[in-house]
Amino acid sequence: MQRIISHLNTNADTFKANTLHNLKLRDELKEKMQQARFNRPQRDMDRLKRQNKLFVRDRIELLLDPGTPFLELSTLAANRSYDGKGPSASIITGIGIVNGREVMIHADDSSVKGGAWYPLSMKKIVRMLDIAIENQLPVIHLCDSAGGFLPMQSQFFADRYHGGRVFRNMCQLSKMGIPQLSVVLGHCTAGGAYIPALSEYSVIVKGTGAVFLGGPPLVKAATGEIITADELGGCDLHTQISGTADYPAANEQEAISKAREIVAQFSRKEKETIEQQAVEAPYYDPKELYGIIPQDNRVQYDVRELIARLVDGSRFSEYQPAYGSTLVCGFAHIWGYKVGILGNNGVLFNDSSLKGAHFMQLCNQNKTPLVFLQNITGFMVGREYEQNGITKDGAKMIMSQACSVVPKFTVMVGGSFGAGNYGMCGRAYDSRLLFSWPNSKISVMGGEQAADVLVDIKLSQLKREGITLSEEEIQAIRDPVLAEYEQESDAYHSTSEIWDDGILDPIDTRNSLGIAISVSLNKPIEEPNYGIFRF
């Protein structure tokens, strides 16, 4: 396969300026991650110690095979909610290796509000289970939660993707034959009690672990019975009398080594086979990505320069190199796995949309997973393009993408606007995993365009009433719209709302995709099948 020939000038001023800018973005990201992971009030850490509990990060460390990667998901979930006081939405999720098996891990963080679940915590658990279902991954729950954060119950309890979905998804996993294991390290109260109860296996720590539908305060309020948590739903009660939990453990260390032993009994299913070859590092240094990503997302650059720094040997077999040049399509390998890559090199026109639709069909036909590098301002607008059927050609691309049966992965590498987000496999299209870069932006249209549209509407309303506005008054309408767009379109907002599975330092993209592809192959790939394409 031919190597991409990079035209990047690493001595150019723009390269150096971009590098400085993007390293700053990376440092900001690392700092925010570090804060979310480890910055806790001292009194909460002291309380954990008093309770004889380990910090959630140490529990995960003990559980994982030493020296293996852990792909943590949505570390910055809820970073823009709850006054920033719910780091990682008080839940840690991620994909790791336990006794040689790929597993999904869900761990409650009781150093944040006693591990209470906020609305976004619920969303994060549901998403974690969706990923487990889509990739047929066993799940290990490290349970230590006070239950739902009651003041916000209306935002996480009753709706389709709220609390109930957690347990519905657990049942679906079990029905598919994918085992789950709960390690009860703290309280599992109310709904949370169903997590160990619905798991195939469970371990509970004596003294600190407890499972009950109603905790001591609720029992007292309901029946007047005064009882300790341990008497009500502790280790002895559940492992000796009720049979709700399977294995007793004297302390957290024993519970986690028991968990590792249980996982070692899971039978490993054969993975789907796709084209694979010996792994080769990218020929061009991935660190150069920092110099490629422009400081302003409006500035266009050749997406092949990104591809060259993500794929094995920087080799890329480009499909239709001379047609529909604003969408670059082609085959490459990532960590040895063959993939089909679609990357934007400008607006989607009729030809680029058709090319994308056709290319995705090729990938479905030969079982090649799809990687979308999304940097798209949208499908082209205007009479000439409508006349040529830009809407129905875009619809073909969306149909081909939405009906793809091969695993899909999306990386938001720049802008993501309007229907471009749909065609290029945005969140709604079930990418197995979707990552963002710190520079990326998502919104239904560009901020400037939205402000212009709103000003136009306002002006024509007022014109009917015979009122005209001064430049300053117009500016006063525009500015708040622009500011809101700026705030709500950036990557930290997306990741806070769990529109992605996490923000990546660009140079970690190759490794993250490698893990994602490996995990996706746990699920067999179906035969291709589509809806009706409008020709």
Partner: protein, 162 residues
Amino acid sequence: MRSSYKVADKTVQAQLLQRAETQLIVDEKTSTIALKALGDDEYRVTANEASTSAYAIARGEQFFIHLNGRHYLVECEDEAHSSAQSGSAADKTIASAPMPGTVISVNVETGQTVKENDTLMVIESMKMETTINAWRDGVIATINVNVGDSFDRMAALIELEE
């Protein structure tokens, strides 16, 4: 198709054949060979019953080989690339607009000499700034648009002398 390799500026066609014994065909000559890795990048090479030791290190498509007291650089040429004809960009004189838009900046003047990949102008369309670069070395013949101008798709933006 045989693979082609560049050895000391000479291109040779070569192919390994795994038959009862391993055969190496270089240009039209066939030899029976055997290769055994001895570790630390050292190999025992046997060709037509003569045997010697060699060192080899690969870096991408380049191989650095030390054999019989001499160094060789062998480069593997990509099949599709080595068969390709030279491009047609050289004949083109006009840069046409890839889509309707407006001109953000014009970075050259008429009569100016430019090199391939030099920035000629920047246009904006659909919230994206696109740079029009020189597709070959040349001299600017005409510039048909000014900063702020709007243009249609396929409009001739800038021309190089033939």
